[in-house]
């Protein structure tokens, strides 16, 4: 009964209720778009970080992550491969050699991180093979691929020669000539300026590593397995190695996402308060218009509690109706955008700096959805408390005389 009463009451003054409903609809759909876009941008930064280089899990000799010296090479990679082959959750793995070095062209030089990779296996680990914009992916001996940004800085093109200079395992300066066979362009401009790729054999030769490798990079079948697989590997290969998840290696973006989640409710609250003023206003109006009515209800024996609940329910219904329509409109806008993405080309350089790429695909998480669902109905309830208190303060006889 009370539901029906509340529902009919809120539509007694259609215009007034509609204006408040519209304000809730606007805030819910706008919040949905803003929040999913920001989430999407950060997810992309995180995914790009994983897919560009770090992968899900890395294995090194213990101490390498803090001190990236060649001395911390992996002495028996066969043993590790043996372990990795037995773990089902691992989808792909690849071996790498990594070293700091200096790259020289005839015109310029630049400090770089040299990554020696197994070309075929690495294709499954990172997106570098799919990010080639000119030339081709590595494969042949003495071929090198560079980021397009770096190639511009060095003033080299496909087919030009560059010299890599490193200090090798024994601390002697070693250098070798490579031919540029491909240029890549990843979503992160900072990455492109620094990482260069050569076949693993060339890197081992350049660095005097023999057949030793520095790092294993693993991609799992599902990100949720990361921690369990990490522990499993660590137990199997023993204490002289370090097994690190992407989060151990580069926690900054995860921290950024946490910071965002901790602060985003402020935005919901701000919109909520703005809507809340409207709710308080119309509920007060409607209470004062109905003073006589409340008098009658009380005179025929309706309890104060029920009248109080009635007012709260009316307001809550407005919040729920607005939220549902807002969610529908928001989702209708969101769904196509989540497929096509939003091209923020005018901020391309900034987004490349953040490493998210210029096209942002909004992502709707459960966290966002629950904030959206609960904020406005909750605010409507809070906003109705004061009017509801007013509604039960009248004496029935006084209220009946009220004009």
């Amino acid at each position: 009964m009370i539901f029906k009463l509340a529902w009919r009451n809120i539509w007694r003054n259609k215009r007034r209720t509609l204006i408040v409903v519209v304000s809730i609809v606007v805030s819910v759909s706008v919040l949905l778009l803003i929040d999913t876009l920001s989430m999407g941008m950060m997810k992309q930064m995180l995914d790009n970080q994983i897919n560009l280089h770090i992968a899900h899990i890395q294995i090194h000799k213990r101490g390498f992550n803090d001190d990236k010296t060649l001395k911390n090479y992996i002495p028996d990679s066969e043993k590790i491969e043996e372990v990795l082959r037995q773990i089902d959750e691992i989808k792909f793995y690849s071996r790498r050699v990594i070293s700091y070095g200096l790259i020289n062209s005839a015109f310029n030089s630049s400090g770089v991180i040299i990554v020696g990779v197994e070309p075929e296996r690495e294709k499954n680990i990172t997106i570098i093979s799919r990010s080639i914009v000119e030339g081709k992916y590595i494969g042949e001996d003495r071929g090198i691929i560079l980021g397009k940004k770096l190639a511009q800085k060095l003033n080299v093109e496909i087919g030009d020669k560059v010299v890599l200079m490193v200090s090798d395992l024994n601390g002697n300066v070693s250098s070798d000539v490579f031919r540029v066979i491909g240029l890549y362009e990843s979503p992160s401009s900072e990455f492109d300026k620094v990482y260069v790729y050569i076949p693993i054999e060339s890197a081992q030769q350049l660095l005097g590593l023999g057949d030793k490798v520095i790092e294993f990079a693993l991609i799992l079948k599902d990100q949720n397995f990361i921690n369990s697989v990490k522990d499993k590997i660590a137990r199997a290969i023993g204490n002289s190695y370090e097994v690190l998840s992407y989060d151990d290696i580069s926690p900054l973006i995860r921290i950024g996402i946490e910071m965002y989640k901790e602060l985003i409710w402020i935005y919901y609250l701000i919109f909520g308060i703005a809507v809340g003023f409207g709710v308080v206003n119309i509920m007060l109006m409607s209470v004062f218009e109905r003073v006589r009515e409340f008098g009658v209800l009380k005179a025929i024996g309706m309890k104060n509690k029920k009248i109080f609940a009635l007012i709260l329910l009316e307001s809550f219904m407005i919040g729920v109706v607005g939220t549902i329509i807002g969610l529908v409109i928001g989702l209708v806008l969101y769904l196509p955008l989540s497929k096509t993405g939003v091209d923020l080309g005018i901020f391309a350089e900034s987004l490349a700096w953040f490493g998210s790429g210029r096209i942002i695909y909004p992502v709707l998480t459960e966290f966002t959805l629950s904030l959206l669902i609960f904020t406005m109905p909750f605010i409507s309830l809070i906003g109705a408390i004061y009017p509801a208190i007013k509604s039960i303060k009248f004496e029935p006889v006084e209220a009946l005389k009220h004009i």
Binding site: V20, L70, F271, F347
Partner: protein, 409 residues
């Protein structure tokens, strides 16, 4: 006119509670807008001042083409003419000629990529804050020779102590390899992860000798007395330097990423606040229409006794303007107080969150601004949107016929 104002003033206080709630809503939107814009604009100005102040300069002199091809071949001679030009301009506060080189730096078996900032200590100390960011040892001084100062992460990675020697390997201006030994005299923490990992400060003269690049510099970073001098000085210098094959760039052309990041943040902030103001406008629309429809009877009678529609509409418009202006004034005042407090006590982030800022080279510090633009723009946009939201009810009053009004229930 005065009569109408008085009329409007009395009308809005006929339902005190409703008017107060609407004023509160306007106040809320205004003060929030002032605070958020203050934080944004204040932080932008602060970032630009500190980052441009230490790195790019407000303006920068380069050789034409250096921006796309930052190699040694695109360096230029720092001549007496340029020096005189800089010294004689009164808007120039300080300047620093710098030569950059990418090198490999090693100690024992460890080697890392390094970026050398070749700086003249005499100029640099007056220009940047690098010498205040020394965490160990000392910064370069005018008598330094064969000495370097390292970023603290690079210093840690190379496992060095103050006084140790590092070997630096680079490519000279002729394309040939050059190497040399340098003594580490200091460690600097710039708070910018990328640079702390690779920066090496070296005396300009030392670096020029090392690279066989006599008297050459990559850029001259110039600090001006204020941002609004940039265009004037840039124009002035360009006229003189362009014929010599040099260009003068603003900080926003040198650091496009920073400029765009600020633009991006600014645009998203404005968008959010615009929606907030629109939400408040719905509240105003509701209040105004409620108060107008309640009074249709009254308006009908007024019209019947000869009041003009335009005048009634004007009164309603005045009511909206009064409500909006009261809210705006109080909101600006409260927002201004908050901004003032934040200027005096900047918010400094600590712990993990600070590292996110440092990774992108920003100091983890939030400052605010009391720039008059914030208040004027906020006030005007809220007033404007309030007026738009009142258009429909005002129009209804304007079109009201006396009899319809009197019979309206």
């Amino acid at each position: 006119m005065k009569f109408f104002l008085k009329f409007a003033w009395r009308n809005i206080w006929r339902n005190k509670r409703r008017t107060l709630i609407t004023i509160l809503a306007v106040m809320f939107a205004t003060s929030l807008t002032v605070v958020m814009r203050g934080l944004q604009l204040g932080s932008y100005a602060y970032f630009i001042r500190t980052i441009a102040g230490d790195y790019s300069g407000y303006i920068q002199i380069q050789r034409a083409g250096y921006k796309d091809d930052p190699s040694l071949r695109k360096t230029f001679h720092f001549t007496e003419d340029i020096k005189n030009l800089l010294d004689s301009n009164r808007d120039v506060v300080a300047y620093s000629p710098r030569l950059f080189a990418n090198v490999l730096v090693s100690s024992g078996e460890n080697s890392y990529g390094g970026l050398i900032y070749g700086v003249d200590p005499n100029f640099e100390v007056k220009y940047s804050n690098f010498h205040n960011k020394i965490v160990k040892g000392k910064f370069l001084n005018s008598s330094s020779s064969g000495e370097v100062v390292l970023g603290y992460k690079l210093f840690q990675n190379l496992r060095l102590n103050i006084g140790d020697e590092v070997v630096i390997l680079g490519q000279g201006i002729d394309g040939g390899l050059c190497d040399g030994k340098f003594k580490v005299v200091g460690v600097v923490k710039l708070g910018y992860t990328e640079l702390d990992n690779m920066v090496i400060f070296m005396g300009l003269k030392d670096l020029q000798d090392f690279l066989y690049a006599e008297n050459r510099v990559s850029v001259i970073s110039v600090l001006l007395s204020d941002f609004d001098r940039i265009e004037k000085v840039k124009k002035n210098f360009s006229d003189i330097l362009n014929p010599k094959g040099l260009v003068v760039l603003g900080w926003d052309e040198v650091m496009v990423e920073l400029k765009q990041t600020i633009d991006f943040d600014n645009a998203s902030g404005i968008l959010f606040l615009a929606f907030l103001i629109i939400l408040v406008a719905f509240g105003i629309l509701n209040t105004v229409s409620m108060s107008v429809f309640e009074r249709f009877n009254e308006f009908g009678i007024s019209l019947a006794i000869g009041f003009k529609n335009q005048k009634l509409a004007l009164v309603v418009l005045f009511e909206v303007v009064i409500i909006a202006i009261i809210g705006i004034i109080i909101g600006c005042f409260l927002g201004g107080l908050v901004n003032y407090y934040i200027i005096k006590n900047p918010i400094v982030l600590t712990g993990e969150y600070a590292s996110v800022y440092e990774d992108f080279g920003f100091e983890p510090k939030l400052v605010s601004s009391l720039n008059p633009r914030i208040f004027v723009n906020t006030a005007l946009s809220i007033l404007f949107i309030s007026l738009i939201s009142a258009l429909v009810p005002v129009y209804r009053v304007y079109k009201l016929e006396p009899l319809k009004g009197i019979r309206y229930t």
